[in-house]
Structures are given as structure tokens and as C-alpha cells.
């Protein structure tokens, strides 16, 4: 134990056909530190972690634990070495309790009978020690995403893991939950756990990490001490150029009303109450209206109602003077572009090629289908133009299966498709979810360019910073109602937070 490092990955190189995913990367994690791993989508973070976790074998390089060379051939080896990971998508059994999930795979039994009491004691003790506060008897399906994540953390702690990997843990959390998670991570580090924190949210890294290793396009860029660096420097290391963290935009010039929603009510799929209650709003051409709110306050159902994925209980939707309340999805799509919240569920057919996904709503139009037959050449040309213009990166270009693309590039492809499609209204639902700084900048610039070209933009966002920076008008949604109609120039983030939490509301001006 004469080395300060818990885990060292030295000169790791991992190649895939046509790609060097990790090119001579070195990562040294000290005991008791929080070490951030920063990089754009597709920079090689996940590959490096998969190597550490035994999912891939590196072609070159060695891994050392406490100074001794180890070989990690599969995740079991990683577990034996005390390496645990909280995945971005939780690996929990929905119909089991928290406690059952924690002990899953390492159950103590006596004569074949589960011994839960001992496990419960240990879980409670761990929960207390690190301030996790989870109810061990709650079912996973009944608890919030934040609580599910804590269950994952407890799972690692229960297995006495010393090295904890957090893969983009804040992507799914509300601002309050993020603050709590940061505190938990600090507690863990104080107790001697070593933490690898994969993220591309610079403010979080600045707040919680001790050191940060930056990757770019599979290459090792450097490791810096957080106290000696700035957000600007980190983003430059990550992207390779200067990134504007603040969105630049001129004043909006709202024109005629494009979208007019009156008294929209949408039923909920999970409970008996309506998820969207009597919502009325208007969006004009040349403005970005943003619906802000904490996740789960009816935004998803609102989008489903507007885009036609779910029928309305009551109310009307008028677009460009035409009543589209009962129009089909395809009829609506002729004037409405929709960047969906969940790109895997709605946005893409993952097993289709990139080019097929680019014409997902338009394959039937005369441009791409002649006499019922797909015009493969026209599709290819169109796809290649969009790929080129929007810098969508993929292994084999237009014919890449979208499943094999990184999340950021999948999102880029969807945005390119929706913006190039004929539309007067752009409905963008969390368009920057899971994207890195460079990609977020591009998305924001695209939204503002849309606005300036006279389109109406309706943005649904959970990110306070995005709401404040991009919107021309903010509507706050709380428990299915619009509780505030605000001007981003005149309110503070704190005030907005109060609206979002339901502590404050103002009357919405009719037809404002």
C-alpha cells in the first residue's frame, strides 16, 4: 500500500474495427478522491469504463490495483476487486423492494431460507452512515428516480466496494436531487471510498471533484486539479476549441400566433387524475416559449396531447388558424416538427440505418417513394447532405445502424431531421438531454436560428440554465397546470425555482 492510487489504468489502448476507441489512455484514481472523467459523447469514456469493468479487454496497457497489476477478464473479477458501478440506466428489479434489490445475488440464506434481518441491519447502518435515507421496504416502482439511484449506491456499498463508478449520475435527477447526490458523493469520499465520476456537466465537476481527466476523440488530453482550473479551460480541453457557455441571442420579434391551445386536458396513464389540467397557451412565430418544470409535472403528457400520440380529454388545439384537435399524427406533422423526449422510444428505429431514420416521417413522400418503391438513391443523397451539414458522426456514414451511434450523434441526427423538415412550429422536448457542452451549444444555436427565421419554437426543458438562457417567455408547469407566465429577463433562478416547486404562482394572462 505504498502507492496513493487505488486504481491505475496505464496506457490503455482499445481498438474496434475502423476506430481506436481508447488511444494510450492513462487514468489514476487516488484513494478517497472524487475523480471526474470528462469528455464529449463518443470520446471513449464508456469504453474505458468497460475495460475497467471487464466487459472489454484492452489490447495494450495494464491495470493496477493498489500498485499491483491485476487482470480483469469479466465483471465478476471487477466485483472481486471491489469495483462497483452505478449505471446510467439502473439495473433494478421493478417489483422487488429496495432491500431485495440490494441483496440480489449476494443473499445470505440459512437452509435455503432467506435471512433478511441481518441484511436489513447492514443496509440501515450504511444508509445512516452516508445519509442515504432510503426506505428498505419500498418497491422500486413506487420510488423516485433519485431514490432508485440511492438503491444502486447502497448495492455497491453493501458489497463493500471501495471503488465506485458513477456513470452520468445526474442526467436523470432534479436540481434538488443533484445537490443531495453531490453531498452523498462527498460523504463517500470522506469515508475513504474512491469515486470515478463520469460527467459532462462542468458545474458539477467543479463543485464536487478533486481532479479531472479529460478525453477527446479517444485520446488522453490531460489530468488537472479542479482547484487550479476553470470551467472555460475544462470545456476547451474537452471540445478542443473555445465554447460559448452563455447563449448569445438578440431580442425576439414575435409575429402572428402559430399555436393556440385552449383548455387542454390530458389523462394520465399512471393515475386516475388528469396529468394536464386545463392548459391554455399560445406560441407566436419568432419566439421561443419554454415550458419549465420539474420532471413528472405533466410535461410528457402535454407533449403527447399536442403531437397526437395521446387523445385529449377536452380542449382544442389550433395551428395557423386550423383546428387540429382531432388531426392524425401525420397531418399534424405537416406543420409541426417534434424532437421527442425519449430518442430511443420515439425518435429512432434503432435497428434501422441512419439514412432510413432520417426519412422516418417522410419516406412516403414523392421525393423518396416512387410508385410505392423507395428511391434509395434520393434517400442516400438527402441523408448524406444532412449528415454533412450537421456533422453527424458515425462509423459508416449513412448506412450505420443507429444503435451503434453515440447518444449525442443520435440526437444530432434527430434534430437535423426535424429542422430540415417543413414546419412552422418546432416542439423541442429536452433537446439537450444527455448531450455534452459542445453539442448543447449547437442545439441552442439551432433553436435560436429557428426563431430568427420566423418559426415558432416551443421548448420543454428541465434544465434551469437552459430555460433562463434560451427562452423568450417562460411558462412554468406544476402538477399539470401552468402556474406562471414569466419573462426570463425579469426573474431570478431562485424565483423560477419557487414557481417550479409550486410555492408561488401568478395568474396567466389570457392570450398573452
Amino acid at each position: 500500500m505504498d502507492t496513493p492510487y487505488a486504481i491505475e489504468m496505464l496506457n490503455i489502448t482499445k481498438r474496434f474495427p475502423g476506430i481506436i476507441a481508447n488511444d494510450n489512455i492513462t487514468l489514476q484514481l487516488k484513494r478517497g478522491e472524487i475523480h471526474a472523467l470528462l469528455g464529449e459523447n463518443g470520446a471513449g469514456k464508456s469504453t474505458l469504463m468497460s475495460v475497467l469493468f471487464g466487459l472489454y479487454q484492452a489490447e495494450e496497457g495494464i491495470i493496477k490495483k493498489d500498485g499491483k497489476v491485476v487482470s480483469i477478464k469479466n465483471p465478476n473479477d471487477a466485483n472481486d476487486l471491489g469495483i462497483g458501478m452505478v449505471h446510467q440506466h439502473f439495473k433494478l428489479v421493478q417489483c422487488f423492494t429496495v432491500l431485495e434489490n440490494i441483496i440480489l445475488g449476494v443473499e445470505t440464506t440459512k437452509n435455503g431460507i432467506l435471512q433478511k434481518d441481518e441484511a436489513r441491519k447492514k443496509v440501515m447502518a450504511l444508509s445512516e452512515k452516508y445519509g442515504l435515507m432510503v426506505d428498505p421496504d419500498a418497491l422500486i416502482q413506487d420510488i423516485t428516480v433519485g431514490m432508485q439511484q440511492r438503491t444502486e449506491i447502497l448495492k455497491m456499498l453493501y458489497r463493500d466496494n471501495e471503488i465506485l463508478i458513477f456513470d452520468e449520475p445526474t442526467a436523470v435527477l432534479t436540481p434538488q436531487e443533484i445537490a443531495e447526490l453531490m453531498q452523498i458523493m462527498k460523504n463517500l469520499a470522506k469515508e475513504g471510498k474512491s469515486i470515478l465520476f463520469i460527467s459532462h456537466k462542468l458545474n458539477e465537476i467543479m463543485e464536487v471533484a478533486d481532479r479531472c481527466t479529460v478525453l477527446r476523440r479517444g485520446k488522453y488530453i490531460g489530468t488537472v486539479d479542479i482547484k487550479d482550473t476553470t470551467q472555460e479551460e475544462l470545456s476547451r480541453m474537452m471540445v478542443g476549441r473555445d465554447v460559448q457557455l452563455v447563449v448569445e441571442k438578440g431580442p425576439a420579434h414575435p409575429g402572428e400566433v402559430v399555436l393556440d391551445i385552449r383548455n387542454m386536458t390530458v389523462a394520465s396513464k399512471v393515475h386516475n387524475n388528469n396529468a394536464v389540467k386545463n392548459v391554455s397557451l399560445q406560441v407566436r412565430s419568432g419566439e421561443i416559449v419554454c415550458i419549465a418544470g420539474i420532471d413528472g409535472n405533466g410535461q410528457t403528457e402535454f407533449v403527447y396531447g399536442l403531437s397526437g400520440l395521446e387523445p385529449l380529454v377536452s380542449g382544442t388545439i389550433t395551428m395557423l388558424g386550423k383546428d387540429i384537435t382531432r388531426a392524425t399524427i401525420r397531418e399534424r406533422a405537416s406543420e409541426m416538427s417534434h424532437i421527442p423526449e425519449d430518442r430511443h422510444k420515439h425518435g429512432l428505429v434503432l435497428d434501422y440505418s441512419l439514412e432510413y431514420n432520417i426519412v422516418l416521417q417522410r419516406y412516403w413522400q414523392p421525393e423518396f417513394t416512387k410508385n410505392g418503391f423507395l428511391d434509395q438513391k434520393a434517400i442516400r443523397n438527402y441523408a448524406e447532405r444532412l449528415i454533412e451539414e450537421n456533422d453527424v458522426r458515425s462509423g459508416q456514414g449513412a448506412i450505420t445502424t443507429t444503435r451503434a451511434m453515440s447518444g449525442g450523434n443520435q440526437q444530432k441526427a434527430i434534430i437535423a431531421r426535424e429542422i430540415d423538415k417543413k414546419h412552422e412550429l418546432l416542439l423541442a422536448v429536452q433537446p439537450t438531454r444527455g448531450l455534452d457542452v459542445g453539442a448543447i451549444e449547437t442545439v441552442h444555436r439551432n433553436l435560436i436560428r429557428e426563431r430568427d427565421s420566423g418559426k415558432a419554437v416551443l421548448l420543454i426543458s428541465l434544465e434551469l440554465e437552459e430555460v433562463m438562457n434560451v427562452a423568450d417567455r417562460i411558462l412554468v408547469m406544476y402538477e399539470g397546470e401552468i402556474v406562471g407566465d414569466l419573462d426570463p429577463k425579469q426573474i431570478t433562478v431562485e424565483e423560477l425555482g419557487l414557481y417550479m416547486a409550486g410555492a408561488k404562482r401568478n395568474t396567466v394572462k389570457e392570450g398573452a
Partner: protein, 377 residues
């Protein structure tokens, strides 16, 4: 990129290889069973099975019995295509067996009771088969009833309905329906001179080339048309195709109607040749539709691959009839064939095994220079 490497990673090649592995394993297992029963005759037995019509010494006889194998391949291929087509749209049409049954009932009823010409009988089978598929589709689309459950139920409903409707036209002394050739010659499918190619085998009709043509047409529909694009998108991701404005309910119904029509046609392709009669006392659903599942998977879920898979399955089925009944019980050929068909279901398994040797997902994206460099090598 490494050329050799990428060849074995091509999906088509992988499918082909895994199908071959299945066949080899199946034959090996069959051989072992022959060995266990009677070691002496095993080698000869397996050769007999594989030789099928080649067991006959003269060329004309060989051609004639090749004809018989092909006659039974046509309905099997149609059932396999039915399952394959629905599978592409994300539906498991196990009801193909029942659609085949009602198709058989329809064409025989048309031929024997109504005395219709063959083209009308064929259309009757297509329509009734499509209707049977539509019921499954409508239940799935509007009431979210699983297509496997409703399909299996309809298999039985179809079987007894057909037994009932064909009872008036059965032979007096046997449970089999009257011979189409004897009652209504106009209902026999035309041969168009094909039978002369197979030593005047009168059962060789246009059904054989039509079934192969159907496979090719389906391949074109699935891969080249907007309709196929839509069906496959629905099969891969129902939610995304809804988001893209595709009418998913309509597509489910149309897909199963086409599936039903294909299976129904398959039945007409067999019973309108006069090769077999329907037994109105049978109490199990004919295996044709179920063997179609095996042919679909052995064919790598491709309409073209299905042609060869259907032929192979029918080839060994026919070959089984030539096993020496003095050494082996007559059920042995069915057993071996069942084993091979069973193993056909493992195509996907072998494919997964082959795939597991490559990274589960490609995480990184090459930057442009790397990409170009990779191509130039």
C-alpha cells in the same frame, strides 16, 4: 478494415453459417439415435434419409420423386413465408397453421361441394385465410390480445369448422375427402407442361414456381417498397413508428391478413394438386404451419433463405420414408426430422454466439481522418 474479418461479420454470411451448423447438428443427433437403435444400419440409414429421391436407380424415377418433394415444398414455403412476413412486422403468426387449415377447407369445399374451377378455389382459400388472419390482427390492434394466444385458439376453431364443412364430401368408406381429380377435374391446378419435366408427375403444377415467385415478391416488398419500410419499422419499434405517423393498428391488421392469405394459399397449393386428401376425423392441427416456423428460422428470417430451408426440410421429410422399416420402427424418420426441425430454431442462438465475439456495441465514433484511414487500408 480486415477483409477476412468483415466477411464473417456480414449478417447474411452469419445467418448462412448458423443455418448450416443447425443442419449438421441435427443430422448428427439423428445419426446417434439410429446408432442407439441399431448400430449396423445407422450409416446406411442416414445416407438414405439424405438421398431421398436419389434412392431410385433410374433418372426418370428420380425426377418423379423429386417432383413429389417439390409438391410438398410449395405449401411449406408458403406457410414459412407467412410467418416470416409477419415476423418482420414484429408479429409471431403461430396462427399460420390455422390459416392453412381454413385455406384447405375453403379450396376443398369450393372444389368438391361447389364444383368451382381451380382459380376460384384458390381465391377462396386466399380470402378465407386472410379473414382468419384478420381476426387475429383486429383482436391484437383493438383489444391488445396477444397474437399467439388468439392464433392458437383459432387453429382449433378452424380445424373443427373444416372437419364439419367437409364431412358431406368425404368418401363413404374412409374418413378422407373425395379425390378432386375424380369429382371435379377443373379444380386441379394446371401443370403448364411442368409435369413432363418430372417424368409426367401429375402433381407437379404451377404451385411450385408460384410459391418461389411469391418469396421473391415478398423480398422485394420488404426491402424495396415504402410499405415494407413501414412494416419493418413497426416491427422494430412500434412507438417510433407511431411517432412518425404510421398507422400501427391498420398495419397490424394488414400484415396478419397478408400472412393469412399466404398460409391459405399454401393449403390450396397442396390440396388442389390432388396429392393428398383431407381426413375429416383428424383431431390435430396439421404440422405444416408449425414446420413453417422452423423453415422461417432455418432460412434466417429472409424470404429467399426460406426457399432453401423449406426445400431442405421437405427433402429430409420425404427421405425419411425410405428408411428400412425392417430395422427401424416407422416413427423413426418422423423423430429424426423433428429433431432437425427442432434444432433449426437454434439458428438465432448460433448467430448470437457468433455475435458475442464482437463488441456488444460500438461506443466510439471515429473522427474523419481515422475513418478515411480505415477505409484506405
Amino acid at each position: 478494415m480486415n477483409g477476412k474479418d468483415s466477411f464473417f461479420r456480414r449478417p447474411g454470411v452469419q445467418t448462412f453459417l448458423s443455418s448450416i451448423i443447425c443442419v449438421v447438428f441435427g443430422l448428427l443427433l439423428g445419426y446417434i439415435i439410429l446408432l442407439l437403435i441399431n448400430a449396423k444400419g445407422a450409416s446406411a440409414g442416414i445416407v438414405t434419409l439424405l438421398k431421398n429421391y436419389m434412392n431410385y436407380p433410374t433418372r426418370p424415377a428420380q425426377m418423379k420423386y423429386l417432383g413429389n418433394t417439390l409438391v410438398k415444398m410449395a405449401p411449406l414455403l408458403m406457410c414459412a413465408l407467412s410467418i416470416c412476413f409477419c415476423y418482420k412486422a414484429g408479429l409471431f403468426n403461430i396462427g399460420a397453421a390455422g390459416q392453412y387449415v381454413v385455406g384447405a377447407g375453403a379450396c376443398l369445399y369450393g372444389a368438391l361441394s361447389l364444383k368451382l374451377p381451380w382459380i376460384a378455389c384458390l381465391l377462396f382459400s386466399i380470402v378465407i385465410g386472410a379473414l382468419w388472419g384478420m381476426i387475429v390482427g383486429a383482436l391484437k390492434a383493438y383489444l391488445n390480445v396477444n397474437e399467439v394466444i388468439s392464433g392458437i385458439m383459432l387453429n382449433w376453431i378452424g380445424l373443427y369448422l373444416v372437419n364439419m364443412s367437409l364431412a358431406p364430401v368425404k368418401e363413404l368408406a374412409s374418413p378422407y375427402t373425395q379425390k378432386v381429380a375424380a369429382v371435379n377435374k377443373a379444380a386441379l391446378l394446371p401443370s403448364m407442361g411442368l409435369s413432363s419435366l418430372f417424368s409426367k408427375n401429375q402433381y407437379v403444377t404451377i404451385a411450385i414456381p408460384l410459391s418461389i415467385l411469391t418469396a421473391i415478391v415478398l423480398w422485394v416488398v420488404l426491402n424495396k417498397t415504402a410499405f415494407g419500410y413501414e412494416l419493418k419499422a413497426t416491427g422494430y419499434n412500434k412507438e417510433a413508428s407511431r411517432y412518425a405517423g404510421m398507422r400501427e393498428k391498420r398495419n397490424i391488421i394488414i400484415t396478419l391478413m397478408i400472412g393469412g392469405a399466404l398460409a391459405g394459399t399454401g393449403a390450396a397449393f397442396l390440396y388442389l394438386t390432388g396429392f393428398e386428401e383431407w381426413s375429416v376425423t383428424q383431431s390435430s392441427v396439421p404440422g405444416m404451419g408449425f414446420n413453417g416456423i422452423a423453415a422461417t428460422f432455418l432460412g434466417g428470417l429472409s424470404p429467399i433463405g426460406t426457399i432453401f430451408a423449406s426445400y431442405f426440410i421437405q427433402h429430409i421429410t420425404s427421405g425419411g420414408a425410405y428408411l428400412d422399416k425392417a430395422i427401424y420402427p416407422s416413427q423413426i424418420s418422423d423423430l429424426i426430422i423433428a429433431l432437425i426441425i427442432y434444432l433449426c430454431g437454434f439458428v438465432l442462438f448460433f448467430k448470437t454466439v457468433m455475435n458475442s465475439r464482437r463488441p456488444a456495441k460500438v461506443i466510439n465514433n471515429a473522427n474523419d481522418t481515422e475513418k478515411k484511414g480505415g477505409k484506405a487500408q
